[in-house]
């Protein structure tokens, strides 16, 4: 049997592939692309939420938001590390992000306009992310699967926390409830888009299914997200901004309206409301931090020399 056949058989048997194992070049590349995209999304995802840290309405919420953004940085860290096991450096990955070659989740190109967006992001965006990610806890590449176990656990905490922000708003004053409804109105459709293009437009599905980078199609995941989220909105007493949304008694699922795919592609191609702002924030952070990283490097080298001298 060819190396490739042995490899595919291992995956079929649900064995984990480890960094030192032989793997097809395409497997390696696909994993670098997907994991780094995931890592970049965590890092860029810090920005819209970071936007509300200084303005969080209570100390408890400020602390929770700080902790959440810190977790996201942590997720970025594991995922970059997992990527690095495939023989690419973090600097190269950053370079891909900063040059626009690598993508990140488009949802973070929308602005966080009110405090309720902190709730909506937790509830909807993290909710959709979990649906995307839970199957990855069993994906074939070991480091990715293990990172996802930890990520999913924390994401699910974030999702509950986001929902709790919404709940508090919806049980609050009319202004607060209106703020919550407004956030749902703005984040609903972009969240549905997070589950990816419809199956007929999705290019990577078949191969990804085989490698267990995907277990369900985009449309299945989207349906799952909607079915899970609608009852949660009911509890909040909020109206999902889709006049076509209706429970289908036959299928047991919710039917829903047309997604504005034109908007989706516009944002993916870099023309969303905040694409430039997000990228500028990252590139500025990187460039303004160059002297700091250089200093750390120089200092470490000096220390090493000193230790070497002592050792001799």
């Amino acid at each position: 049997r060819s190396l490739e056949e042995i490899f595919e058989a291992r995956i079929a048997r649900d064995e984990k592939i480890e960094p030192k194992d032989w793997m097809p070049e395409k497997y390696r590349k696909t994993h670098i692309r997907q994991m780094s995209q995931h890592a970049h999304s965590e890092i860029i995802g810090m920005l819209p939420e970071g936007n509300w840290i200084t303005r969080a309405p209570s100390l408890r919420r400020k602390a929770a938001l700080l902790a959440k953004v810190q977790d996201e940085a942590g997720h970025g860290l594991y995922l970059y590390s997992a990527c690095e096991t495939l023989g690419i450096s973090r600097d190269e990955l950053y370079e891909q992000l900063h040059s626009g070659k690598a993508k990140y989740s488009s949802i973070f190109n929308y602005p966080t306009v009110t405090w309720a967006d902190m709730g909506a992001i937790g509830w909807l965006v993290d909710g959709a992310a979990i649906i995307n990610q839970v199957p990855l806890c069993n994906t074939s590449f070991g480091p990715y699967a293990r990172a996802m176990v930890r990520v999913c656990k924390e994401e699910s905490f974030h999702q509950r926390q986001g929902y709790e922000i919404m709940l508090k708003l919806c049980n609050g004053t009319p202004e607060q409830k209106e703020m919550a409804q407004d956030a749902l109105n703005r984040w609903w459709w972009p969240s549905l888009m997070m589950l990816g293009p419809t199956d007929d437009k999705s290019v990577h599905t078949e191969q990804s299914m085989k490698w267990k980078l995907k277990r369900k199609t985009n449309d299945e995941l989207r349906q799952q997200f909607i079915d899970q989220t609608v009852p949660q909105a009911d509890i909040l007493g909020l109206t999902i901004p889709d006049p076509d949304l209706k429970r289908n008694e036959e299928t047991g699922h919710y039917d829903f309206g047309e997604i504005d795919w034109e908007e989706f592609w516009q944002v993916v191609k870099g023309h969303g409301p905040c694409n430039k702002k997000r990228m500028k924030a990252r590139v500025d952070a990187w460039e303004n931090g160059a002297w700091v990283r250089d200093a750390a490097m120089a200092y470490a080298e000096k220390q090493e020399k000193k230790n070497l001298k002592k050792a001799i």
Binding site: M46, I53, R55, L59, L66, Q70, Y80, A295, Y299
Partner: protein, 251 residues
């Protein structure tokens, strides 16, 4: 008010943590490395945690049924008691680490003394805080060394930050009326006792970091008495935005 001096004393400690946490919170996602972003957020989070404990206690002492958030968000600028040092801007990473280190050394000495306070609540907060603050100091001190003894550029930048921030160090040791009253009662910490030790420790690290220890006759002060720098108004307009815009609501 049951004990106004105690109330003011608690605030003068807690406001430092609040405002410094707020400054660190501005940086989230904008730091030089992912690791420093994580550490900065973490320090901010520790400080907010400490702040909450202090304000909860202060609210109890005040006895007017106020919450930690009333105290954190609904005072006027002149009523915040933090030192000028912690409100200085994030000009560049050297300033962020310099400000942090110059505060952390003081903060840890304060916590170590507060541990012996006759006030059990303050002693308990200090006990919990010491571990956190020790970590802060190690982190910021390490960075001052890296930047001071890194490249020529980083040395210059770190020196610039230290030169600018040095003028705010003396205020750390100012004693207000509330401080004096609390010291007399064995509740508060007499910071003058470790002032010399502070400057020795800081100077030693600066020298180790290949930095010059500023010689300065004049120092800038005012925060402890509520006369803040022009930065403070902008810090507060963000900090208080939600509570001011949506009064009397729960979040």
């Amino acid at each position: 008010m049951n004990n106004e001096n105690l109330y003011n004393y608690i605030l003068s400690i807690a406001d430092n943590s609040l405002i410094l946490a707020q400054r660190l919170g501005e940086l989230c996602g904008h730091g030089p490395t992912l690791e420093t972003d994580i550490a900065g957020t973490n320090i901010s989070l520790d400080l907010i945690g400490q702040t909450r404990s202090y304000y909860q206690y202060a609210a109890k002492i005040q006895g007017e049924g106020k919450t930690e958030d009333d105290i954190a968000f609904l005072r006027l600028e002149r009523d915040y008691k933090n030192v000028l040092l912690v409100e200085q801007p994030n000009t560049h990473f050297g300033y962020v680490m310099g400000r942090q280190y110059l505060f952390d050394v003081f903060h840890l000495m304060l916590m170590n003394e507060l541990l012996k306070s006759k006030d059990d609540t303050l002693a308990a907060i200090a006990k919990k805080g010491i571990k956190e603050v020790s970590y802060h100091k190690r982190f910021s001190g390490d960075w001052v060394k890296r930047l001071g003894d890194g490249t020529e550029e980083s040395n210059q930048k770190m020196q610039e930050a230290i030169d600018d921030l040095w003028t705010y160090t003396d205020e750390l040791f100012d004693l207000t009326e509330a401080d004096k009253a609390m010291i007399a009662e064995g509740v508060g910490v007499d910071t003058s006792k470790f002032k010399e030790q502070y400057y020795t420790e800081v100077s030693d690290l600066l020298k180790e970091a290949n930095l010059e220890v500023p010689e300065r006759k004049y120092f800038t002060r005012g925060g402890k008495k509520g006369t803040h720098s022009e930065y403070m108004g902008y810090i507060l307009s963000d900090l208080q935005y939600m509570q001011r815009t949506y009064p009397n609501m729960e979040w």
